[in-house]
């Protein structure tokens, strides 16, 4: 198990390295006249040249890449071209905000999808049809449309929640809960749709296994068989989908944060992109990549816990 973990970790680090290298080269090759963009059309050619020299963007890309890599390894991702704030600071002050929403959405969608999926698989008939319809709609309708819809109905018309803004969890838990409810709901629906299909499918598959009949023949109750045995066996494939959905949720957070004016990673991703703030975009790519690697590793570990065969190999 330890070797398995180490191997996954190493491959994650390699993946991260390749992603950041490719991103760095592409971003810097296409950066254009950075000084002009920062200083605006009114600046003189001399100040622009000076700015470019300050930022080091006139030097060859390869040299700058190794420079960046060396600093990045020590945790120094440079400073934003536009705000002069350090990249680490800009990102980490917002990371918790985004994580609280994304993790919240992961948990919510995992739980709801499991409940719905098991229900559909056991009841079949109309319950199954209903869940299928929900899944198709939730899959097809883009998350930001759902978000816009939720804002209009629950914030602007019913006034149950504030339409925008974010309350720190440390400041007020209920305030936080109320500020993230709509964003999490908007994010979760798509993920639920994808996961519920998998849960339903693998529960139905697991129920048809021979050992389910044998467990029944031993006098175990249907609930015990489904919730203890079938669900544990169906958990693997469902978790794999959850891992994929997590990546999707991070992406979805970018748009949802914009709609609900939540000061998270999504918001600076959009502004950094629009401005072409290369150091900040690089930092974001690395952090999001690392997040994905960590979550995949966690999911693999849980898989190992659920499935003894994975543990051995």
């Amino acid at each position: 198990m330890l070797r398995f973990t180490v191997r996954r970790l190493v491959s994650g680090v390699i993946l991260l390295f390749v992603i950041s290298s490719v991103a760095f080269l592409l971003l810097n090759l296409g950066a254009g006249d950075v000084g002009r963009r920062i200083l605006g059309p009114a600046a003189t050619a001399d100040t622009v040249a000076l700015k470019n020299e300050q930022l080091g963007v006139s030097e060859p890309v390869i040299g700058r890449y190794f420079d960046w890599l060396g600093h990045a390894l020590t945790g120094d991702f440079g400073t934003s071209w536009f705000t002069s704030q350090s990249v680490e600071q800009a990102i980490f002050s917002r990371l918790a905000v985004t994580l609280s929403i994304v993790i919240g959405a992961t948990v919510v969608s995992g739980v709801i999808a499991t409940v719905l999926g098991v229900w559909a698989a056991r009841r079949r008939g109309w319950a199954d049809k209903l869940v299928q319809v929900i899944a198709v709609l939730g899959f097809a309708i883009p998350g930001f449309l759902i978000a816009i819809f939720l804002v209009n109905v629950f914030a602007l018309n019913l006034h149950w929640f504030k339409p925008t803004g974010y309350v720190q969890m440390s400041a007020s838990f209920t305030g936080w809960l109320s500020s993230v409810t709509l964003p999490i709901a908007a994010l979760s629906i798509g993920a639920i749709a994808a996961i519920v299909q998998q849960v339903r499918g693998s529960v139905i598959d697991a129920q048809r296994q021979d050992w389910v009949r044998t467990l029944r023949s031993r006098g175990l109750s249907e609930n015990r068989i489904v919730y203890k045995h079938v669900l544990r066996n169906a958990g693997g494939p469902a978790l794999a989908v959850l891992a994929v959905q997590f990546i999707g949720l991070v992406g979805g957070a970018v748009i949802v944060e914009q709609i609900f004016a939540i000061p998270g990673l999504g918001q600076i991703s959009v502004s950094a992109t629009a401005q072409g703030d290369v150091p900040l975009v690089m930092g974001l790519v690395v952090v999001v990549g690392a997040l994905v690697v960590i979550v995949n590793l966690l999911i693999d570990l849980i898989q190992g816990f659920l499935n003894p065969k994975v543990r051995v190999s």
Partner: protein, 610 residues
Amino acid sequence: MTESITNVMPDTATEERAARSHLARRLLRNGAALFAFIVLGLIVLAAILAPLLTPQDPNFANIQSLLSAPSAEHPLGTDGAGRDVLARLLYGTRYSLAAALLGTAIAAILGVVGGLIAGYYGRWFASVSSWVISLIMALPGIVVLLAARAVLGPSLWMAMAVFGVLLAPAFFRLVYTAVVNVRGELFVDAARVSGVGDFSIIGRHILSVVRAPIIIQFAFVMGIAIAIQAGLDFLGLGDTSVPTWGNMLNDAFARMYKNPVLLVWPSVAIALTSVALALFANALRDELERSGRVRVRRRRVRGTAPAPAVVLPADVVVHPETTADSREKLLVVDSLVVGYDQPDGSLKQVVNGVSLTVRQGEVHGLIGESGSGKTQTAWSILRLLPEGGRIVGGSVVFGGTDLASLSDTEMRKVRGRRISYIPQEPMSNLDPSFTIGSQLVEPMRIALGISSADAKKRALELLARVGIPNPERTYAAYPHEVSGGMAQRVLIAGAVSCEPDLVIADEPTTALDVTVQAEILDLLRGLQKELGVSILIVTHNFGVVADLCDRVSVMRDGLIVETGPVRAIFADPQHPYTKSLFDAILEDGAARGHLEHAADRHAPAGGAAS
């Protein structure tokens, strides 16, 4: 981004050419698919006919009339910049569809070509591609698109080209898997050997298999493309000079407080298109799957099925008891009829009126060839028939109560405690995720109500009793860590763990190695003597019957044809079918023992479960 990588391969790899016209017709009859066709048709028409449907210029901003209400000139009013909403919606359809089509087409071309090459020629191209794909899929698509936008600037078409690259894996995986599967087929080898060119093989054999899944995936990916494209424009990161649904949303969202109606039009357009694409893809997938196999439907309401046709067992041969058997009747099955509900509402009968009696402490053999209904009979006594199967008629009286009329909860109390079960295929009958020990302890704790320490002690004793050399180690092992023979011993231990009165053993030796078969039979015989339990053993092997049974019932086509004490039947088989079974054994002459065991071993695991 990666959410499109759903399983779109239908179960059927091959699809009859003639079935395709039926497919189109069935799709039109499918409500969801029809809806999808109509919506998509209207949307495409709107895109093509935009200049005819409105005289307005979608980009002409009339500063005199910002956010004006609907009028004859502007049927849907104007937006925040004074542009005609209807014109923007119609032209937006053009741009949004074209952009999504571009992105999806790029994804499809890259993925299909890459998948064909990687799947057909394999080697380094396959490993490099799969590595690149895991790289692409590791990041949220929107983050990559944002980064690309930082490099390439706000171009609608560029963004969609990048999107195409990002979603190429959706097609790659599909095609790659299909090609790898087909490449291994004999007919492809045959075609290659007979000199058919690679392109011709790919075209004829491989593309025909993946064509339908590609169409399905295309619809899914296009739905995602519409959403992503609108999302980028909505964030204000797109090309604002182009009228798209996303740009309309962006403008409307900024004016949400003043004029929320503006949100409705682009939202409805995006949602309708996405849903129509997903519905189309789903319907096509469902129809393809349905044409591939007959689905067994959930049980219908009792009483609507036709009355069971009990074939009167007029020609059943009953041998007289050799000695007066005073033992009490434990299980009396009377005119049992078992059937499976079919999708068309009819009932397929597999057991046509079986009657048999098992006395206390008796070993009763139920013998017959595959498909004779013996396993179905065994399962229906325990009421463990697979989905769709049910007892249609007759009674199963056990210890004075008719099991067929018990509630599910009452029946559960019978299972394990009073009647237990030994399955045919040991390896697939243990839950792979739990240790052997926990699977023995759990039923005992529930059925006997003993503490987990006592249950563990008892489990270890049982494991030792069934001949497992190191009970402690096997107790802690997972099912995949033990051999088939060991697993069957574990299952036997489980079957007797709660001191049942009757054990139903469904071909308990068929799936095992020859040498192990005899040991398992010895074990069953020993346990039976020791515990005085009754056994109903299902088998297709007269050797097992001779070895173990007191009495035997011969089954054929869902009916008992001959029944009686083993000695009597062996000495004087009456029914032609019983005779033919004996003849089949005797034909092999002296060498029979080995041959028959060999045949046993090679019998398909699922064959006798019919």
